[in-house]
């Protein structure tokens, strides 16, 4: 039953009430029908018959009176007048009896009626005899006759009429008592069903109202809390949006600076590309020069090896010269020895030998020197060959390096070109970013105003919630309203917010509802309310 909707509950309540009403109606209908039946019986049966009987009785009495008047009268005309009256009475009686006879339904009634009917001719006969006497002006006899014969007939007739009347009255009474009974039963039934309906109605409506009120109270409490949250969130959003707007403006300015820097960079990159192209050219030239140098080096190495060969040849020649000088020296020494042996005679020869030996020694010396020089030259040449080999190798290295430089320069050139293009694209992107940032700023402003609107909506929601709570008649309404006002409690938020934000938030929250503000300042502490205000504030405002 808890999960039933309010509609279901109301339907159940109303269905119950309708059932009770229907039962009541049915009961009443039965009773009213009975009453109608009995009243119909009274109206259409007992009363007319009583009336008819009454008329009959009165007619009979009147005829009796007329009869006596007839007796008492002396004129013939007067008697004739009474006779006529009697005839009309008899006719009336005949009509009444026939009318009455038509209404007969019961056997007891019929029995009584037959007796009545039977007593009529007796009475009429007796009356005729009396009247006959009276017409003959025999008043005394007539009177006597009346006393003797008419009176018993008359009594008998009235008795029958009385019996009939009593019977009809009894049946009428029976009907009346039945009606009375039915009315009493109907009243009792109505009372009982009213009590039941009241009981059911009260209890069902109590249940329905209680359920609905509880739900509505819960909903409205939630709504009021929610509207409070919305209000504070709207304040935050507003603040954040303005912050964002300011940030976006700054960003836009930075982006413009970035854009100009990027343009500078672009031109620099372009220059770089040009320079790298130049480097490429220079590297090509350097490679050509290095190629030439390498070729020259190879030629030089060849020349040096030729020099070495020549030097070797020269060395051989020098060796020969040295040999000759050595031999000459030996010869000179031999000559000197011979001269010494010759004693005085060999003196001049000794001088010559000495000269020859000197020459030989000089030749040997020169040859040695030349040899040394040539050896030196050969050494230097081989060193030169080594150096030229090294130089050649270095040139090869240079060539390789220049080639690398060439490649790298080409890469740098292409990279610079790419970079330039990339920077152009970045520039476009930055321009777009600038646009987006400005759009962001505008959106932020819009969202700030939207937040204001949201705040206003929250305020109106609060009012609506208050209305709802009032409608629900909840005790919590005051509490709830205080919850709504509580999130904006300045001291609590101020710890996390800047002064401006706090001012803003409090201004936003209190703008619409000064009375709530007053209530919020009242010494009311609710953990739920605090909790509600805590949730959105801390994380968001820490960042600011």
């Amino acid at each position: 039953m808890k999960n039933w909707t309010i509609g279901k509950r109301i339907i159940l309540g109303f269905a119950t009430l309708i059932c009770i009403t229907l039962a009541l109606c049915f009961y009443s209908y039965i009773h009213v029908t009975a009453i109608r039946t009995y009243s119909d019986a009274i109206i259409s049966d007992a009363l007319p018959r009583l009336y008819t009987i009454g008329r009959l009785e009165s007619n009979v009495r009147q005829s009796q009176v007329i009869t006596f008047k007839h007796i008492a009268s002396e004129g013939k005309d007067e008697k004739a007048l009474y006779d006529a009256e009697l005839v009309s009475l008899v006719q009336g009686n005949e009509r009444v009896i026939s009318d009455y006879e038509k209404t007969l339904t019961r056997t007891k009634d019929r029995e009584l009626f037959e007796r009545l009917k039977a007593s009529f001719p007796v009475y009429r006969q007796a009356r005729e005899e009396v009247l006959k006497l009276s017409r003959e002006q025999k008043s005394k006899e007539a009177f006597e006759q009346a006393k003797l014969q008419l009176k018993p007939a008359y009594d008998k007739l009235t008795a029958a009429i009385q019996a009939e009347a009593v019977y009809n009255r009894t049946s009428g009474d029976l009907c009346a008592s039945a009606i009375k009974e039915a009315i009493g039963g109907a009243i009792t039934g109505i009372w009982i069903s009213m009590a039941v309906a009241l009981l059911f109605g009260i209890s069902i409506s109590f249940f329905i109202i209680r359920g609905a009120t509880r739900v509505l109270t819960g909903v409205s409490t939630t709504l009021s809390e929610g509207s409070g949250h919305i209000a504070s969130a709207a304040a935050q959003v507003s603040y954040g949006s303005q912050f964002l707007a300011a940030g976006s403006s700054e960003q836009a300015a930075s982006l413009q600076e970035t854009s100009s820097s990027l343009e500078e960079m672009s031109s620099m990159t372009h220059r770089n590309a040009e320079h790298s192209a130049k480097v490429n050219e220079l590297a090509r030239e350097a490679r050509a020069a290095a190629d030439m140098g390498a070729a020259d080096m190879r030629a030089m190495a060849l020349a040096m090896s030729e020099i070495k060969t020549s030097a070797d040849d020269i060395a051989k020649i020098i060796k020969t010269i040295d040999e000759i000088a050595f031999q000459t020296n030996i010869l000179a020494l031999n000559a000197a020895v011979e001269a010494a042996r010759a004693g005085e005679a060999g003196m001049g020869f000794a001088v010559v030998a000495d000269e020859v030996r000197n020459l030989a020694q000089r030749a040997a010396q020169a040859a040695r020197e030349t040899s040394a020089k040539i050896e030196n030259a050969v050494l230097k040449t081989s060193q030169g060959v080594q150096i030229s080999n090294k130089v050649s190798k270095s040139l090869d290295d240079i060539l390789a390096k220049v080639h690398e430089v060439d490649v790298l320069a080409a890469e740098v050139a292409s990279a610079s070109k790419d970079q330039s293009e990339g920077i152009t694209q970045v520039n476009i992107a930055v321009a777009q970013m600038d646009k987006v940032t400005q759009a962001n700023a505008a959106s932020a402003e819009e969202s700030a105003s939207a937040a204001e609107e949201l705040n206003a909506e929250a305020e109106s929601l609060k009012v609506a919630v208050a209305e709802l709570l009032r409608l629900v008649g909840s005790q919590q309404s005051a509490r709830s309203l205080t919850f709504v006002a509580n999130p904006a409690k300045p001291g609590h938020i101020g710890r996390q917010m800047s002064a401006a934000a706090q001012h803003r938030a409090s201004a936003l929250t209190h703008a619409g509802k000064p009375n709530l503000h007053n209530r919020a300042n009242a010494p009311f502490t609710s953990t739920r309310g605090r909790k509600g205000s805590d949730i959105p504030m801390e994380d968001d405002f820490k960042e600011f």
Binding site: L333, A336, V337, A340
Partner: protein
């Protein structure tokens, strides 16, 4: 041949000397002992000879024994033999018959005239050392030449008799 004979007076030592090199040191012998100077030629080794006998050569049809003077004097050999020569000397042999021997030297320097003033006596190295093979010491141009007593060096006591028979 006695020692006194081999060492004449100081004045008689003046004269012409053939200077040659043994292991870069300059030595001298009297030029009159020298017959001729030839280049180093192929030397035919002779078996069962001491180490200082290098062998024999054929000099214009005459067999000349070759003495390795460095080995004979107990000196080291020179590194370079480019200017090596054979000095053919005539020394008195048995029964005063002159014999011809070849001295292998590292190089021949010159024939120089030594004055008496240039020649000094053999310095005394102590009684224990034999200086018999040295005639004197000559001073030539700030250098010192050792003058060898070639007769003593190549005497019968020092050279095996076999060679002398040649």
């Amino acid at each position: 041949m006695t020692r006194i004979e081999a060492t004449p007076g100081k004045t008689s030592l003046a004269g012409k000397y053939l200077a040659f090199l043994l292991n870069r040191e300059s030595y001298g012998i009297p030029v009159l002992k020298v017959l001729e100077i030839i280049r180093m030629t192929a030397i035919t080794p002779v078996p069962r000879m001491p180490a200082y006998v290098k062998g024999v050569i054929n000099l214009r049809g005459k067999i000349i024994p070759i003495i390795d003077l460095c080995a004979k004097l107990g000196l080291e050999h020179a590194a370079s033999t480019e200017h090596a020569c054979l000095v053919i000397v005539q020394v008195p042999g048995p029964e005063n018959r002159p014999i011809h021997l070849g001295l292998a030297v590292d190089a021949v320097e010159e024939v120089c005239q030594l004055a008496a003033g240039d020649i000094e006596e053999t310095p005394d190295f102590g009684s224990a050392l034999d200086t018999a093979c040295i005639l004197a010491v000559a001073k030539v141009r700030n250098a010192v030449k050792t003058l060898l007593d070639i007769d003593y060096i190549l005497a019968a006591q020092t050279v095996p008799p076999l060679l002398r028979t040649l």
